[in-house]
Symmetry: C2
Subunit: 218 residues, 2 copies
DNA sequence: ACCTGAACACCGTTCAAGT
DNA sequence: ACCTGAACACCGTTCAAGT
């Protein structure tokens, strides 16, 4: 066949096909994507560096929906809360992507940029450098766990014999339908309280480090 | 070769080999396990039902270290806290197994049995059936997230170009070495406070459901 | 009952050959 | 530059053949 006059595929179409496969089946393979695009598997390697790069394209697609514009405009705690809600909504829209994305380290530049902004806001607010990742990771745990809980609970437990675990079976059956926002908000509020206390300790009680807080500290 | 006088392999040895591979490489394949055991891949299918069953063997191995004996002896909150600590320690010992196990639904009977005991304790304490899984899932998020954080942080972010995200790079570098126990304990305490408040609402304010709390409620 | 080799339908990836 | 077919080293799984 040789080179077509206009390229048959591009990174955008690859990302779209991969995300659709993940949404529908929970996973993707390179040949499956190729099939969806009417092309051979080998063709994809002219546009992406390999399977892992496609995972990062999926991550970028899912995370595109996260609004990070509040960093720098809202106070740190309101910004972090708004970011967490938007983050959660983005993942809740693609619950089957969560295990896929959690198993691979974040490399997508645009997503790393969001974490960069979050780190900046927390440093500016006065958090100690050593506490920043802990705060972010705590939020991430809440967000991803809650997104999984919200949209794909049945993927977490699968008793082959429900009679062996009757209480678990009843508890699973009794879970409210989709309304877990209240629980998320409660936990988020608890986390923010904890973060505020951590910040008060850092900025209030003098630290052994004489450098002032903020992102200019060396 | 035909049947050996005494079986060359068994489920126990398969589980051991699989867990060692996961600990060392982060994943396993059926042929790799077979190679470790000096046997052909096809032989494994005489002992396990397939790859997914091996994942469940790994889950059982990791979770064997979880102490669930406090259910039924300690008050619910102390029991849940002790369970969470033991659970976290078990996963922290095999951090690379966490993504593998989170991607597959829990089917291992012994592990399901632990959840069954936890559900029973919470119901006996007076929690509403509809709240029980939320409590357990919240704990699980805390436990697994914290275990990942404790033992495998470098697998979560991997900036190709650290200069593009200088603040993130500094925050990652500034994380304390292994001492995340204090953060875990703080979050666990916050969760327990929230659970106690939930319980007070349930048992204090009369519910529309006339049935008494506890596991006998239909 | 349990191990084996051969086979099947799949992977991810590379590469020379075509335009 | 971009698609292709062929090839490579791998998967997970099945199964008849052996003891």
């Amino acid at each position: 066949m040789g080179r077509p006059r206009t390229p048959l595929i591009d990174r955008d179409r690859i990302a779209t096909a991969a995300l659709r496969l993940v949404d529908e089946r929970g996973e993707f393979s390179v040949p499956e994507i190729a099939r969806e695009l009417g092309v051979r598997a080998a063709s994809l390697y002219h546009h992406v560096e390999g399977r892992d790069a496609i995972v990062e394209l999926v991550r970028e697609r899912v995370c595109e929906a996260i609004d990070a514009s509040m960093f720098g405009t809202l106070p740190w705690d309101a910004a972090v809360a708004a970011w967490a809600r938007s983050y959660r909504a983005a993942f809740a829209a693609h619950p089957r992507a969560i295990p896929l994305l959690m198993a691979a380290p974040v490399r997508a530049p645009r997503v790393l940029g969001q974490y960069e902004a979050a780190v900046g806001v927390l440093l500016d607010a006065g958090f100690a450098l050593r506490d920043v990742m802990r705060v972010i990771i705590a939020l991430e745990n809440l967000i991803l766990g809650s997104a999984l809980d919200l949209a794909a609970p049945e993927t977490m437990w699968e008793p082959a014999d429900a009679t062996a675990t009757p209480l678990l079976a009843r508890a699973l059956a009794a879970r409210p339908e989709g309304r877990t926002d209240a629980a998320f908000e409660l936990t988020l509020a608890a986390c923010l309280d904890r973060f505020r206390a951590l910040l008060a300790e850092t900025t209030g009680a003098g630290s052994p480090d004489p450098a002032p807080p903020g992102r200019q500290a060396s």
